[in-house]
Amino acid sequence: MSSKKKTLLKVIILGDSGVGKTSLMQQFVNGKFSNQYKATIGADFLTKELTIDDKSVTMQLWDTAGQERFQSLGVAFYRGADCCVLVYDVTNQKSFENISLWKDEFLIQANVKNPENFPFVIIGNKVDVDENKKVINNKKAQQFANNLGNLPLFQTSAKEAVNIDQAFDVIARNALQQEENDEFNDEFNDAINIQLDGENNNCAC
C-alpha cells in the first residue's frame, strides 16, 4: 500500500511584506513574474512535482501574508512543514533584520519537535536591482546565515529568474531529508485512554 504513495514535501515561505515571496513561488512553479504588487491575504499554496535523486516528490509551497494586517489569526498550515524559507529583500534593511524574528515565530507556531535541526533556507531576493540600491551585501548576509546555524543562503531574482531553481533544489532536498527523518523518528507514545473514570461497564438495559 505504502509503495503507491508519493512523498509530499511541505515548505513554508516567510518574510516581510513586499520581499517577493509570491514572486519567487510563481517564478519557480509557473515561470512567471509580474511587476504589479498585490498583497497576499492569509495564505495560499502551489504544488510542483519534482524528481530528487530518482525519487518522485510533490513539493507543496505555502505562500504567506507578509503584511501583519492580512496575516491569518491561526497558522495551522505551519504544522507538518518539512522546510521553512526565510526571504528578505536586498534593498530593505528591515526585512533582513526581521529574518530571525520570522524564524522564531515559525518555530513557536509550527511546534517543531527538533528546532535545532529543522531545515531553514534564507533567500535574499531582488538581486537584479542596481548595486547602489542594495543595502545588504553578500558578506553580511553570509555571516548572518552562519550565525543562525550555518543556514543555506541564496541570492535570487524572481524577476530575472536568477538562482531560483538552485535555491528550490536545496530546499527540496532539505525538506526530503526532514520528511525522512520524521518518518523514522516518529513514535506514538501516548495511547488514548478510552476508559472513562467511574464508567459503568454493565449494560443498563
Partner: protein
C-alpha cells in the same frame, strides 16, 4: 495519495490480523488482472486493519481538500483581520474628528455668548447716545433723522451686496 509523518500504532495490530490462510483464500477469488498488479510482498502480507485505518486517516487529513480548506480559512481570517484593522482605524479617525467638532462647538458657543453680550452692550450705548442727542441736540437730531428716512435706498442692491458678502463668509468658513 501522499504520505506524511507516519506514526507507529501504540497497540499490537497483529491481534486483529487476519490469518495468512484466509488472505490466500481471498486472493484466490480475485481476478487475474488484479493479481498481476500485486507484487510478491503483498501476496504474502497479512491484512492489517489498524494500519489500514491509520493510512486512511492520514490520507484523509493530508488531502488537497484539507489543505484547500486551510487556505480558505487563512484567507478568510486574513481578510477579516484586515477589515477589522481598517474599521478600528476608521473608528479612531471618527473619534478624533468628533473631539475636534466638540471643541469647535464649545468655542462657537463661547463666541456666541460674547457676541450676544457685545450686542447688548452696543444696543444700550446706542440707545443712550440717541437719548442724549434727542434731548441735548434736538434740531440736529431731527435733521439727521429726516435725512436718513428720506434717503433713496435701493433695497435690491443692498440685499444683493449682503448676499455676496455672506457667500464669501461661508466660503471662508468651509475652506
Amino acid at each position: 495519495m501522499t504520505t506524511r509523518h507516519r506514526r507507529q500504532p501504540s497497540i499490537n495490530s497483529q491481534t486483529f490480523a487476519v490469518p495468512e490462510t484466509e488472505v490466500s483464500d481471498v486472493e484466490e477469488m480475485s481476478t487475474d488482472s488484479y493479481q498481476d498488479s500485486i507484487d510478491e510482498d503483498h501476496e504474502t502480507r497479512e491484512f492489517d486493519p489498524v494500519e489500514y485505518l491509520n493510512d486512511s486517516l492520514e490520507n484523509a487529513l493530508t488531502s488537497m481538500e484539507m489543505n484547500r480548506s486551510m487556505v480558505i480559512q487563512a484567507q478568510t481570517s486574513g481578510a477579516l483581520k484586515g477589515k477589522e484593522l481598517e474599521l478600528i482605524q476608521l473608528q479612531q479617525e471618527a473619534e478624533e474628528r468628533l473631539l475636534q467638532f466638540q471643541k469647535r462647538f464649545k468655542d462657537g458657543l463661547k463666541t456666541l455668548r460674547q457676541v450676544v453680550k457685545d450686542l447688548k452692550w452696543t444696543q444700550q450705548h446706542v440707545s443712550g447716545i440717541r437719548k442724549h442727542l434727542e434731548t441735548n441736540h434736538p434740531i440736529e437730531y431731527s435733521q439727521s433723522r429726516d435725512k436718513i428716512l428720506s434717503r433713496n435706498i435701493n433695497i435690491d442692491e443692498i440685499t444683493k451686496k449682503n448676499d455676496d458678502d455672506d457667500d464669501n463668509d461661508d466660503a471662508k468658513i468651509y475652506i
